[in-house]
Symmetry: C3
């Protein structure tokens, strides 16, 4: 955002559409690059999970369906099942309201997922360590989404814009996710 501001003051009197379009793309990137970073990290984690499962699978040629493989495969599937939900909510929250708290919550989610995958030691599929992990983070991101939409509707119909206040509150609230 800072870089756009600087550009703005520099090009205060240039109203060439070309320049405006270029600034637009920089502004868009400014508003999503943290989300892209978190998405990239989550993709790296996904690949790590998949390689882990593959290694376990090819490690023992005799019988492929050992309990360890079953558990790894199950943990991987649970992670993948909620992955699209997580991505959708992360991006919506980041675009509608503010990207920094959304990206922060996303990183915490990745840490929780890592813990979940490593610590998946239950006897049966989806038993002890919980089937749906990171509920609190998903709830926080959904709430951000909803608040963003409500704020947009208020801005459209009422004309009052509380976005700045809401963003400050959201940033403060996102630190609460660090509580165990």
């Amino acid at each position: 955002m800072l870089s756009v501001m600087l550009k703005m003051t520099r090009q205060q009197y240039e109203t060439d559409p070309q320049v405006i379009l270029e600034n637009m793309f920089v502004a868009v990137m400014d508003n999503i690059f943290l989300l892209v970073l978190v998405t990239l990290l989550s993709v790296v984690q996904n690949v790590f999970f998949a390689l882990k499962v593959e290694k376990e699978c090819t490690g023992q040629h005799s019988k492929s369906h050992s309990p360890a493989f079953e558990r790894l495969s199950c943990a991987n599937r649970n992670c993948m099942d909620t992955y699209s939900t997580f991505l959708a909510v992360l991006w919506c929250a980041g675009i509608c309201l503010s990207q920094a708290p959304a990206a922060f919550a996303g990183i915490i989610y990745l840490v929780v997922r890592q813990k979940y995958f490593v610590g998946y030691l239950g006897q049966t599929c989806q038993s002890t360590p919980g089937f749906l992990f990171g509920k609190r983070i998903l709830f926080f991101l959904s709430l951000m989404c909803a608040v963003g939409i409500i704020n947009h509707l208020m801005l459209s119909f009422g004309g009052s814009d509380y976005k700045e206040y809401i963003q400050i509150i959201t940033k403060a609230a996102s630190t609460l996710l660090l509580l165990p």
Copy 2:
């Protein structure tokens, strides 16, 4: 769109890049907030499904793989498998062509999915109630996508813009999805 128009007339002679950028973000939100709403609803539904499966799983400690659990888990997996496809097609259709019919189709899809999940009473996995539900809605959204791209290409190379007519036709066509 209305709010942007109003702002436009108000700021007709302000060509400050800062103002233009701010208007840009409001205009972007205007064009996606219905999609965000549908995405949010689908996330709530996903969490509902996952909690349902989890409850069934932890409800009976003796033997975890009862037929009821198997069926719930299978229905949940089928829903999750098509979820990313649905999201991708919903957003592409909404961005390329028009958000209102896309969001409407999305809501109908959610209703169909709810019915599918509740009514999943077949004997074997993916048998009676259909493996791929909501084919018609996915087809409608894909068609919207394709029409949007063709219109964009015609606008780029031919210079003729039929977007307004297409949007009216799409809105009318989306009501046909209500037919059983």
Copy 3:
């Protein structure tokens, strides 16, 4: 991009915000329509896979869990598990850096996936033909993402913009994906 340029020169001296907003939407579409096209193709492929599984499932009423069905279902599940990852990385790479190489890599990924699904003839789930296919393409897209973010940060803090050079290099590098 060409169409925007043309429009730009035509409307060089029109600084009406309405016109700028309209140009903005055309410019956005110009930057994503190839990605939308690849997404649409991937959705068509997904539906093809799902119909294939459904046909195999309903084809034999006597016993639903034949080895052929198991294998098809497993191949479908592996494809779906990596689908959200693929979509996320494709769109991030396309938006952050350049859409043409990203879309090209996406099409190659779809071809690889088709080959994977058709050739899935291993004895056990996730055995011979690899559990995670298209690793090279996912790596290439992730790299594009990372380079795009680094370039944006350098532009924000350093002021130097190497995007043009990077895009040329990326386009050249994307042809290397054609190597078997």
